[in-house]
Symmetry: C2
């Protein structure tokens, strides 16, 4: 088996992906469970090839687990603490899986080098992706026992600082939701005001006043109002909305770039 | 001389700092000029020691050039393109400074290794700092011919993608200015509404309507109104404001964290 330390990766740098979807009024995260004894969960992640942009590495990792490429993807934070290495987690995994590893360090130079490679300090570049869960065909890699969507408030305890990475992704999503209009990546093409409010409430994990919320959203000045939704009861039917893409692009450029 | 490749740095990772100040209604950036022929300017940057948090590396680099430590510092973006290496810039610098370098690669194994080390691809972690220019005593390092504040709209052409890094820092600053209340790091302890407006106009490089601006700022709900500023003409004197630190911390926590 080829040693990971022989691959043409940048050393001590990894990419971790927080893949976010929305379903049944809940924000969800796609989390694989490792195929080893000991109940280890960890974010989909990987390394960066010498000739690969970090954004492309994130897209590659995302594609491997979801089968989709064309999604909203944003690099949001670097996990740069010197003491966040994975030695403790790896040692525990090897201990619990002695039957598989059977003293792996004795197997030869290659596994020794892999162990050294994996247990050095890593600087992790965090990305979050907003995906349409209906389009995702979640896929296990060789190292996964399973892969599942978890409500963001009910995540399993993950390895290293991965739970904190999810919290930071959510923080970033909340912080720039209105300016970047990112929420709409989690809605279908057309939607009612109530559906936007449900999504916002899921993202912020709190209720918004029914009488103020539409004002807040319409102030973004990014929506087109379409016909009423067909419900059979014409006078009570809610309007449908759609992102005004042109106005959107204009908004996203405005104030934000020097050029 | 000790070879940089022998130091205990993480390879292929660097930190670049955009140091922002505010003076005479202008946003300014602290930029050193390299002490070589050829007019090379570049952002204050450096590398990360194996045992050092990336945030601490940024603070170390910032302190070396400004003499101050206690400033607003935010990691905002990773420059992760595979083709952003510094080979072109280094080759040009060596060519123009042949009298100094005098075929440096012939000097021995150490300079050869340094050249190889510097010309590999680097993943750069971008930080921006908001500093009080009155507190800064800007300091050259061994490699600088000079170090100066430049208006952000009048920066010299810098090496590699450093001009783009400044643009991205400004974009991030604009994007989260209201939510993170970062602008107030560039003002003295107390200030008038006009002084906030001047600063916002410098940051966004555009004018805001005089009758709307105070409303926008007061809606942040983060300011304390103090006594009127003494100007000699009591009835026309503007009020002074101060950040309400307690309300501020509350705002910054609100909506942003799961915990």
């Amino acid at each position: 088996m080829e040693s990971v330390s022989d691959k043409n990766y940048i050393e001590q740098v990894s990419v971790e992906c927080v893949i976010l979807g929305y379903q049944n009024r809940q924000l969800k995260v796609l989390v694989p469970k490792l195929s080893f004894k000991g109940d280890f969960w960890g974010l989909p992640g990987g390394f960066v090839y010498q000739e690969e942009d970090t954004d492309d590495a994130a897209r590659r990792i995302l594609y491997a687990r979801t089968g989709i490429r064309d999604v909203y993807l944003e690099q949001f934070q670097v996990m740069g603490k010197a003491d966040r290495n994975s030695r403790a987690f790896l040692d525990r995994m090897i201990e619990l899986n002695a039957d598989i590893f059977n003293n792996p360090l004795a197997e030869g130079e290659s596994s020794r080098r892999d162990y050294d490679w994996f247990t050095r300090r890593f600087i992790s570049i965090g990305y979050y992706a907003l995906v349409d869960m209906n389009q995702v065909v979640s896929q296990k890699t060789d190292l996964d026992a399973s892969i599942e969507w978890y409500p963001i408030q009910e995540l399993p305890q993950m390895i290293m600082d991965h739970n904190q990475i999810v919290k930071n992704a959510l923080k970033t999503l909340r912080l720039t939701l209105d300016q970047k209009l990112t929420a709409f990546n989690l809605l279908p093409e057309t939607f009612t005001m109530q559906e936007i409010q449900d999504l916002y409430e899921a993202i912020f994990d709190k209720r918004f006043a029914q009488n103020n919320f539409p004002k807040r959203i319409l102030r973004l000045n990014a929506l087109e109002r379409l016909e009423k939704k067909y419900t059979g009861a014409a006078n009570k039917a809610p309007y449908l909305y759609r992102l005004d893409r042109e106005r959107c692009n204009q908004l996203l450029d405005e104030d934000l770039f020097l050029e």
